[in-house]
């Protein structure tokens, strides 16, 4: 991960999301926020493969929590074993405390609940960046 991201526009993001529509939407939202350097994976396995080869090209991971093949929790666990500090934003469709607590204990940097707007996403990204800088 690049140490000095500076402004939010320079952020390089890996999106992990199984739904094509949701992924395209996320890409659009990111570009609305001003983030254009994005990578995509449609499930955890694909994402792991990508990260194996391109760890240095990603500053942040945005990952859906409920995915087939490799769940968000499992993917996060494997990522954390390699890089304990890469910012990881979890996206969840359930807005209950249980899944949030589960995510927090598994070491996500932040979480966002569906449905979310571009503004909410931007806030989350900025908060994460601020946290990482601190």
């Amino acid at each position: 991960m690049a140490n000095n991201i500076g402004s939010i526009e320079n952020l390089r993001v890996l999106m992990v999301e199984d739904s094509n529509e949701a992924r395209a939407l996320l890409r659009n939202m990111l570009s609305e926020i001003g983030i254009h350097q994005t990578f995509e994976a449609s499930n955890g396995k694909e994402a792991l493969l990508f990260m194996d080869n391109a760890f240095d090209f990603v500053d942040m991971i945005i990952c859906d929590w409920n995915m087939p093949e490799l769940s968000g929790v499992e993917f996060l666990r494997q990522i954390r074993s390699v890089d304990p500090s890469i910012p990881f934003l979890m996206v969840t469709g359930r807005n209950d405390m249980e899944s949030v607590v589960e995510a927090k204990t598994s070491g996500v940097t932040g979480y966002i609940r569906k449905p979310y707007s571009a503004a909410e996403l931007e806030v989350k990204l900025r908060v994460i960046l601020k946290k990482m800088a601190a």
Binding site: E98, K114, P115, S117
Partner: protein, 600 residues
């Protein structure tokens, strides 16, 4: 002396002759041993003379013994004690299935139930027989067994069975004795109620899980629809006709989202936003919203007490009250009243469905919503918390309103009770645990000097974003002086982080316009999205001439020029909170006019 019953009389008579004979023989022996020497040849005669006397004496002794010693001295036998303690009644049958005896309690249990059911006086014994008759006949017909075996097959049919009569549950337990069959009737109403309530809870839990799952997928779909819709909106010109369509899509997705919110609130999905609220002030606030929902023919009356605090998710409680009031409104056919009543309830007066631990541990406040509408029948009443259960017309109700209420109450540690009478009305009672940190409620009060500068905004929270450290401290000090709790942020991004980590509500955002990383305008834009309840005040070094500032400030934004004065801030706060300063202290109207001039 206690009256003996049939069974006891039977036993007494059965044993009377053998026991009397034995006693008489004993007395005879006794007299022979001690007095025989006095009688010589007449011994046989004397025996013949004495024996009937002894026999009568023996019988008398036995009867007296039974009646006085056994029955009188211990009027309460072990059996009676057991019956009293465990609240059951018994019925004796003989082997032929004929009823011999019914205990007082057994009769009572059945009497109360059946009398209520039939609305007439009746004979306990006969009634119970006729009540049991169908079961006994069933046995006879099914098995085609001889009559005397009926009672033997009775246990298989009735043993352990719970008979539901009206509102009461009776459990039947059957025991075999030597010559009789005894049938115990236990009042299992309480146990059964608990079981039913457990079942209800489990059912609702399961439905909650299901609802959570559905909500998850539904949220995914909604977010996609909403996202693309917003994108279309952005690409359309401001005067494009299609904008009205996208707005409708937006409204519909919003409705969809509020539906999932209700679903999740009903499921076991706790919300994370917990505030301590003063209930009276909260009800005032809600009252205004609720009145808008009611027709002119329905009056809303709110009785409240001050200084009662509860911990809850403000929006959720508001929604819960609203759902109940809407139901009340819909139940009122023409004109009527909806009364919201608030009272603190001492622990000994709390209803018993609240577990004792809870009753002892917390004070509760009872919030009742009372209407004089059409009321509900028992069937409806038992299902009102089920998700998707509705009595409203298709499209009028989702059937989620009261399920959500149930979920909110459970999450708050509160309880909800429903009382309803057809044609009279309905009372829905919320029992809310009082907050342990009562003193934290927000209030606005006037300081000693009586001017605007001295108004105190106790426990209001303000987020202050200012990149100049000294100015940040000065302004924060000023706000703290006004009684507010201040969250400090050194720039826009920092402000976002601070608000993210703050659990409670943020009443105001006071932000500098020009800041590095994220400026005030962008910060305000984001804050409006994520915390729509926060009122925003911008502070700028270029207050009057917008062109000289480097950012575009929206026309309706409240903008305050530097240097910031405490009285200006106080005036804006009171105005934004909708507080009539005249009622506080009769402060000059001029101040407000000045402020309006600043609001561009």
């Amino acid at each position: 002396m206690r009256k003996i019953n049939k069974l006891q009389r039977r036993r007494l008579l059965k044993r009377l002759i053998p026991v009397s004979l034995v006693l008489a023989l004993l007395m005879e022996l006794f007299s022979l041993l001690f007095f025989a020497r006095g009688y010589d040849e007449d011994a046989t005669l004397s025996v013949a003379l004495h024996f009937p006397v002894f026999l009568i004496l023996g019988a008398a002794v036995y009867i007296l013994h039974r009646l006085y010693f056994q029955s009188y001295l211990s009027t309460e036998t072990l059996m009676d004690q057991t019956i009293r303690v465990f609240q059951f009644g018994y019925l004796y049958f003989d082997r032929n299935g004929k009823l011999i005896e019914v205990s007082e309690k057994g009769g009572e249990l059945l009497a109360s139930v059946l009398a209520e059911q039939r609305g007439q006086a009746w004979n306990t014994l006969n009634e119970f027989c006729s009540y049991l008759e169908p079961y006994m006949l069933d046995v006879a017909e099914e098995g085609g067994k001889p009559r005397e075996l009926e009672i033997e097959s009775l246990p298989a049919r009735l043993n352990g069975r719970i008979l539901h009569v009206d509102d009461q549950y009776l459990q039947v337990v059957i025991e075999y004795l030597d010559e009789e069959v005894v049938l115990f009737v236990v009042d299992a109403t309480e146990a059964q109620r608990q079981k039913n309530s457990l079942y209800q809870t489990q059912k609702l839990e399961a439905l909650g899980q299901l609802a959570g799952g559905v909500a998850h997928d539904f949220n995914n779909i909604l977010s996609i629809i909403d996202g693309y819709n917003r994108m279309i909106e952005k690409r359309l010109d401001a005067d494009d006709e299609a904008l009205t369509y996208t707005q409708r899509i937006r409204q519909s997705t919003k409705r969809g989202a509020s539906l999932t919110k209700q679903l999740l609130a009903f499921g076991h999905h706790k919300t994370s936003k917990i505030d301590t609220i003063e209930l009276a002030a909260f009800l005032d606030e809600q009252g205004r919203l609720l009145e808008a929902l009611l027709d002119a023919s329905v009056r809303l009356i709110i009785n409240k007490q001050k200084h009662v605090y509860v911990d809850c998710d403000r929006d959720a409680l508001g929604q819960a009250i609203m759902n109940v009031v809407i139901n009340a409104r819909d139940a009122i056919p023409e004109d009527g009243n909806v009364i919201i009543n608030m009272e603190t309830v001492p622990s000994h007066r709390l209803p018993h469905f609240i577990p004792k631990n809870d009753r002892d541990a917390r004070d509760f406040v009872c919030l009742s919503v009372i209407d004089n509408g059409s009321g509900m029948d028992a069937e409806t009443k038992s299902r009102i918390f089920d998700p998707f259960f509705t009595t409203k017309k298709v499209g009028k109700g989702t059937g989620l309103g009261l399920s959500m209420v149930y979920g909110v109450m459970r999450d708050m540690g509160g309880y909800v009770d429903v009382q309803s009478t057809m044609g009279v009305g309905t009372i829905i009672k919320f029992f809310l645990p009082c907050s342990l940190q009562a003193e934290q409620g927000k209030s606005i009060s006037l300081g000693t000097s009586g001017d605007e500068e001295s108004i105190k905004f106790n426990n209001y929270t303000v987020l202050l974003a200012e990149d100049e450290p000294d100015l940040l401290e000065v302004t924060a000090g000023m706000l703290e002086e006004m009684g507010m709790s201040v969250l400090r942020a050194q720039n826009g991004n920092d402000a976002l982080l601070v608000q993210e980590e703050h659990d409670g509500t943020i009443d105001f955002l006071v932000t500098d316009v020009v800041m590095p990383e994220l400026n005030g305008v962008k910060l305000a834009e984001l804050m409006r999205e994520i915390r729509p309840e926060t009122k925003i005040i911008m502070v700028s070094g270029y207050p009057t001439d917008q062109t000289s500032s480097r950012v575009d400030i929206p026309a309706d934004q409240i903008l305050l020029g530097k240097p910031v004065m405490a009285e200006d801030l106080a005036r804006i706060f009171t105005r934004l909170l909708g507080v009539d300063t005249d009622r506080l202290d009769g402060a000059s109207r001029g101040g407000i006019t000045q402020w309006q001039a600043m609001q561009r």
